[in-house]
Amino acid sequence: MTTTPAQAGWRFKQPSVIPGFGLTLGFSLVYLTLIILIPLAGLVWRSASLGWVDFWRIVTADRTLKALEISFGTALIAALINVVFGTIVAWVLVRYKFPGRRVVDAMVDLPFALPTAVAGIALTTLYAPNGWLGSLLMPLGIKVAYTPLGIIVALVFVSLPFVVRTVEPIIEEIDKEVEEAAATLGASRFQTITRVLFPGLAPAIITGFALAFARGVGEYGSVIFIAGNLPKVTEIAPLLIVIRLEEFNYPAATAIAAVMLAISFAMLLVINLLQTWSRKRYG
């Protein structure tokens, strides 16, 4: 338990007539502690007990660094791709009326609902040299499956909804009068979008980007089928953790996980700060 009961002077909770505070908060904290905090603390404790020298040796091993580089690099590229296309998709879905708009809108959530393993084998089949898309790209000399490009494709799929879903509601909220005002002041449509609307969308786009990036870094299921998993070329960090586990090399698995966790938390912090900042600024 991390809380203390209400004390005189320093008030933990504002008084309220609504019942059930102790019960619900108590249960939430116990459950959170058992399911999330203790296991995560176990990971931190285990990696701390490795000692700096061992920890540093594992983390800076060539194969580890390459795996981290591949995970973060491909996630970054995939998130950037989704920023561009996700914003366009969100704009089209909110602003244009076309038959089946609702179906398309619903489909955007498919990557949230479709198990990653299913996505993985489907994408691999599509982009394999004899697959529908792979056979089209082959003559152009582009290989997707079993290359870093394949990892990016898988990550674009799994993180596709983030940008669309964070940007969509903001576009919906845009006050039509703001655009009309810009138009009456002589701005062209392009100027209105880039100078007036886009700055307002930027916080949402950045948030969507951060969420997509965070998701991509940790992704496992959809990637391992299409990546080929060649060490130092297409081996992602989560896969390396699994490999180390299967070798019963627990210290190495723990150390890599700790590094990934630290970076993920730093990103979570940034996301929260961004959201607070944009809420303060744009209400």
């Binding site: 909770k13 309220s16 007539v17 609504i18 019942p19 505070f21 619900t24 249960f27 459950y31 959170l32 399911i35 999330i36 203790i38 990971l43 285990r46 296309f85 366009i88 704009w91 879905l93 602003r95 009326k97 076309f98 619903a106 489909m107 959530d109 498919l110 609902a113 479709l114 198990p115 990653t116 393993a117 299913v118 084998i121 489907a122 994408l123 599509l126 697959g131 529908w132 898309l133 674009v156 879903r165 969509e168 919906e172 039509k176 009309e180 009456t184 449509r189 965070a214 940790g218 992704e219 299921g221 960090a237 989560p238 896969l239 953790i241 699994v242 723990t254 993920s264 990103m267 979570l268």
Partner: protein, 294 residues
């Protein structure tokens, strides 16, 4: 309850004036880009699942599903969801009640902690339990001497699934209940209702669609989770294989029809989830407004 009128969910952009729309050609270009992008990345993967599943005909499809290991994987997946989802529902309601109905120190921090599993790689979500319960871990030997199996058994799979689906219900309900405020609850209290009655007759009906929405997403993830479960399951065929893990095994054995047949069931689940979700959003969009956009 600022405006109890049930609003249509459809965003109102039908009457955009000339000043606020793009030219016809710009619109065509943007729509083409959007459709091609979504077509390649969303539609094709979905189509290929069913195409491959039925590649050798309907007979082969059903034959591959009617396999002992496949059936036991389906059974295990359902079992895990039936345990994990209700647990997170109870937690989600409790956490949302505490966070949305009260002001207390550290509330923002607690909200952040609840979202934590979303930013943890699924593989790490599984790993933490391996470190906790594994043979070399603190609890490992003790558990072994008492004959309690957690890792490479159903309890471990359930725990890992609970971990990854932990935030789903809570994060649907928190904004919803915050938006609804305490007015209805105060009214019920002033009319003499006790705590349970307030929840049962007033709060629950107000949040039921949001709750269902959260359950839907939680369930989809619980049934489809791969990474976390893969680490703790041990991949024992017919014993600790969930459907997504079974897909992997079949695929690695070059049994494409088998793998895609099981995958088609999961894809079907995903489609049903999306359809129900869309219906909820259309019907109860105004009530769910707070939770849209995840």
């Amino acid at each position: 309850m600022a405006d109890p009128e049930i609003k249509s969910y459809e965003p109102v952009h039908e009457n955009l004036s000339a000043a606020v729309t793009e030219s016809r050609s710009a619109r065509t270009v943007l729509m083409t880009i959007a459709f091609v992008f979504l077509g390649i990345f969303l539609l094709l993967p979905l189509v290929i699942v069913f195409k491959e599943a039925f590649a050798k005909g309907v007979g082969a499809y059903f034959a591959s599903l009617n396999d002992h290991d496949t059936l036991s994987a389906i059974h295990l997946t359902l079992l895990v969801a039936v345990i994990a989802v209700p647990l997170n529902v109870v937690f989600g309601i409790a956490a949302a009640w505490a966070i949305a109905k009260f002001e207390f120190k550290g509330k923002a921090f607690l909200t952040t902690l609840i979202d934590l599993p979303f930013s943890v790689s699924p593989v790490i979500s599984g790993l933490v339990y391996v470190l906790l319960f594994g043979a070399q871990a603190v609890l490992g030997p003790w558990l072994k001497s008492h004959g309690i199996e957690i890792l490479f058994a159903v309890p471990g799979i359930v725990l890992a699934t609970v971990f990854v689906t932990f935030p789903f219900v809570a994060r649907e309900l928190i904004p919803l209940m915050q938006e609804q405020g305490n007015g209805d609850e105060e009214a019920a209290l002033s009319l003499g209702a006790n705590g349970w009655q307030v929840f049962r007759y007033v709060t629950l009906p107000n949040i039921k669609w949001g709750l269902l929405y959260g359950v839907l997403l939680c369930n989809a993830r619980a049934m489809g989770e791969f990474g976390a479960v893969s680490v703790v399951s041990g991949h024992i065929r017919g014993m600790t294989n969930t459907m997504p893990l079974h897909v992997e095994i079949l695929y690695n054995e070059y049994n494409a029809v088998g793998a895609f047949a099981v995958a088609s069931l999961l894809a079907g689940l995903a489609l049903v989830t999306l359809i129900l979700k869309t219906i909820l959003e259309m019907r109860y969009g105004a009530e769910l407004a707070a939770t849209r956009g995840h």
